[in-house]
Point group: C2
Chain length 416, copies 2
C-alpha cells in the first residue's frame, strides 16, 4: 500500500494566526493531513479486537503465575479446562517490573473469563492509569500474550485478525553507535553477514540528545551505507530522539538524497509538535511510536499525519490488542504499521504474529536475532530466513511453538 | 498574582485552516495564548535549580539505601562526612516500584557528588527514558528528596529557591464519590469538621470516564456545596479526567455560575488538545499536570495556556527540581502553580517546602491530613493549622523535622 501523506495538503502560516502546536523557529511549512476525522478514528477504536465469536463457552482462568529462573521471566495462564498459555516476557524490563505485575495486574485476571480479555484490560487501566507507560504496559502485555497463547486452538494472529501475511519480510536492525562511520560500516557488514536481507536499519545521532560521537558520524554514514549496500537495499535510520526539529530536517534531507525508506524517531518521542513539523517538512516518511504510552496520543499522531509509519511495540504498549487498535487507525488514515521489536528471546515471534494480520504492513519488519536462550520446537515453520529475507509465520495454536518443558520447569513463582 | 489568560486572545476558525490540535466537534472557539515564546521557556529550563553556590566543597555520597518496614518505605542517603538525608517515600506506589529504584536509579548516585544532583538526574533519565512516567519519577523523587534532606544545613526550600511563603494556606481535598449529592455533602461537612479551612476541593464526574454514580450527582453537588459552605469559601472541583471535552464545557459553565476557583482535570490527563479547548472555551481556570510525565509537554501546556493552574506532584514528577522547572515556566507565562499532593505520611511537608519558594503560588494548597504513622519532632513549626487555615513551614535543615530514630531503625534494606 502507498503512503498517502501527499493527498491532503494545506497551507498554514506560522505567524500570529498559526497552530499552537508547531515549532516557532522554522518559518512557513505545509501542514499535511490524512483526511481522516476523529469521529472515524473513534468508531475504529470502539470495535473489539479479540474475536469472541470463536468461543462458544467461557474460558475461565484458574491460574496466572509469573515465573522466574535467573533473569528469565515467563507468565503461565491455566484455564479451568487445563488449557495453558505461556508468554516469554521481556526480561530486560520485567526484572524491574515484577511487583507491578504481581500486585497490580495479575489479580484482575484470576477467576475471570478469558473471552472478556478486553474488558479486563480496560479495568486494569482504570485502576492503574497513573502508571500509564511502559512500566504498566509491559506487565499487562505479559499476561495478555500468555492469554492469547494456547488457550484456544487458533494462532495468535487468528484470534485477533485475518491473516494478510503468511510470511514476514525482515530488516536487520543494527545498534552500532559511538564509532567512526568507517568502523560502523565494517560492523554493519559483519552483522548482515551471509543473511539475504533486502532491508537494513542503522542508528544515527546520539540517543535522546546525548550528543553524537564521533561528531559528524551520521552525515558520513548515510551516503556510505548506500554506497556499500547498493541501490537495491531498502535503508532505514533510527535517531532515537537524538535531534532537534531543525537538525532533523537537515539530516532528513540527506536521507532523501540517498533514497532512504524512513527516518525513525527524529526528535524525542514526547516532542509531538516537532515530530509533526519534521514530517510536514520532509518528503521521507517519519516513523515512531515505540515509546508512545497513550492510545489517545496515537490517535492524534495518526489523524494529523505526524507519523507516516507507526511502530507500536507489543510489549511496551500493553500487548496485541492495543497494538491492533493503533494499526487499524493507521490503516484508515493510509499510514503504514510495523512493530518496534523488543523482547529478547521470543520477541521476533510476537512481532511476526502481529504483522501477519496487518493489511497496512510496512514493506519490512524489525529483526534483531533468533532466540538462543532455550530449546523449542515449531512444527509449522522452520523459523529460518529464506532467500528473500523473509520468515514463515507459525500456524499452530497460540504462538505456534512448543517450549522445552524442562526449561519452563526450572522457573519458580515470583512473589513481590 | 493574577492569571493573565485573557491578555492574549486570538481568533482561530476550526474549519479547514484550523489548528490540528483542537477538537473537531465544537465549532469556533477563541484560542487563548500566554504570549510567552518557546525560546523564553527554553532559557528558563536551562537555568539550574539546586543552588550550587551554597556548597564550597563536594558532598560525596557514600550510601544510598532503600529501607522497608511493612509497607513503610524510606530512602536514606549518607555522605562521606556523615550527613544524613531521609525521604519518607510514597508507599502506595513504592511497594510496586522498589526494583526500579534498586536496579535502575540507586546505582547512579552512589559515589557521586550530591552538588551535581541535577546532572546525575539527567543521567538517570538518559538511561531510563523508555520508562518515563510515574514508575520512573517516583523512585527518582525518593532519592532526590532524601538528598535535599539534611545533607546541607539549609531547609529544602532554601536549597532550591527563595522563600516567598513562610506559611501555606491550605485547602481540604475531599475524595468522596459514589454517593448522592446529599450524602456527599454530609461527608464533606464531616471531613471539614472544626478545621478553619477557607478553601475546599471535591470530586465530580466518574474517574477516567468510568461513568458517574449516581447519575447527575455533580450537577446537584456544585450548587449544593456553594450553598452549604457560603460565598466566602473558595471552591475547587476535580473530575479526575471524567468528562469528554463537550461535557466538561457544560459542567464548567455551572461551576462558573457558582463562582468556583478552578476545575481540575476536566478530561483525561493525556487529552492535550481537548484540555486546551476546554480552557479556551471556559472562563473558569483549568488545573492539571498531576500525571504529566514529560517536561516537554508541560512546556507545551504552559506556552499554549492549556492550563491556568499547573499541579506537578513532587513524587509523581521526579522530585523538587523538575517541579521547580515547571513552576518557573508557569510563572513566566503568568500561570499559577500548586502541587498535587501525594505521599501519605509526609506528603504535606514536601508540598509545603515546594510551595514556600513559589512566586506564583495559587491561593490555597492541597491538604489531605497529617502524618499519623510515626512520631516526629519539629522545632520550628507546631505543624498545626492556624485560625486562617494555614500552616507554618519548618525552617530547620532539610525537611525540618526529626523522625523517631526507633521508627527508622525498624526498617530493613530492600533488595530486588
Amino acid at each position: 500500500m502507498k503512503i498517502n501523506r501527499r493527498n491532503f495538503l494545506k497551507k498554514a502560516s506560522l505567524g500570529a494566526a498559526g497552530s499552537p502546536f508547531l515549532l516557532n523557529s522554522h518559518g512557513n511549512v505545509e501542514e499535511k493531513e490524512t483526511g481522516i476525522t476523529y469521529s472515524q478514528l473513534d468508531e475504529i477504536l470502539s470495535r473489539p479486537v479479540l474475536k469472541k465469536e470463536l468461543f462458544s463457552t467461557p474460558v475461565m482462568i484458574e491460574q496466572v503465575s509469573l515465573l522466574r529462573y535467573g533473569d528469565s521471566i515467563l507468565c503461565k495462564v491455566v484455564s479451568r479446562d487445563g488449557a495453558e498459555g505461556i508468554c516469554v516476557s521481556n526480561d530486560l524490563y520485567m526484572t524491574s517490573l515484577y511487583p507491578i505485575f504481581v500486585k497490580r495486574v495479575q489479580p484482575f485476571f484470576i477467576g475471570k473469563d478469558a473471552v472478556q480479555l478486553e474488558e479486563i484490560m480496560r479495568d486494569v487501566y482504570l485502576h492503574n492509569y497513573k502508571l500509564q507507560g511502559l512500566a504498566l504496559w509491559l506487565p499487562v502485555a505479559t499476561v495478555e500474550l500468555a492469554m492469547l497463547g494456547k488457550i484456544a486452538d487458533k494462532s495468535m494472529g487468528e484470534l485477533i485478525g485475518d491473516i494478510h501475511q503468511p510470511s514476514i519480510p525482515l530488516y536487520l536492525a543494527n545498534n552500532n553507535r559511538g564509532r567512526s562511520a568507517e568502523e560502523s560500516i565494517a560492523r554493519i557488514q559483519e552483522h548482515v553477514g551471509e543473511w539475504p536481507f533486502k532491508a537494513l536499519k542503522f542508528k544515527v545521532a546520539g540517543r535522546m540528545h546525548e550528543g553524537e560521537f564521533p561528531t559528524g558520524r551520521s552525515e558520513r554514514l548515510i551516503p556510505l551505507v548506500r554506497e556499500t549496500f547498493g541501490d537495491e537495499m531498502t535503508l532505514y535510520t533510527d535517531a532515537n530522539g537524538g535531534y532537534s526539529g531543525v537538525e532533523a530536517i537537515e539530516i532528513g534531507k540527506l536521507m532523501e538524497e540517498y533514497n532512504y525508506g524512513y527516518f525513525e524517531e527524529p526528535v524525542p518521542f514526547d516532542w509531538y509538535e516537532e515530530t509533526k513539523q519534521v514530517a510536514d517538512t520532509l518528503e521521507i516518511p517519519v516513523a515512531g511510536g515505540e515509546q508512545e504510552p497513550s492510545l489517545h496520543n496515537f490517535r492524534w499522531l495518526i489523524k494529523n499525519n505526524a507519523l507516516q509509519v507507526v511502530q507500536p511495540d507489543q510489549f511496551y504498549f500493553g500487548g496485541m490488542i492495543p497494538s491492533v487498535k493503533v494499526a487499524r487507525m493507521a490503516d484508515a488514515a493510509g499510514i503504514q504499521c510495523t512493530p518496534h521489536m523488543s523482547g529478547p528471546g521470543l520477541g521476533y515471534l510476537y512481532m511476526m504474529h502481529f504483522v501477519s494480520i496487518l493489511p497496512n504492513a510496512a514493506l519490512f519488519h524489525e529483526f534483531k536475532g533468533f532466540n538462543q536462550r532455550f530449546e523449542m520446537e515449531c512444527p509449522t515453520s522452520s523459523l529460518t530466513i529464506d532467500e528473500n529475507g523473509a520468515i514463515k509465520v507459525p500456524t499452530g495454536p497460540g504462538l505456534g511453538v512448543i517450549i522445552d518443558p524442562d526449561f519452563i520447569e526450572m522457573h519458580e513463582i515470583v512473589k513481590a
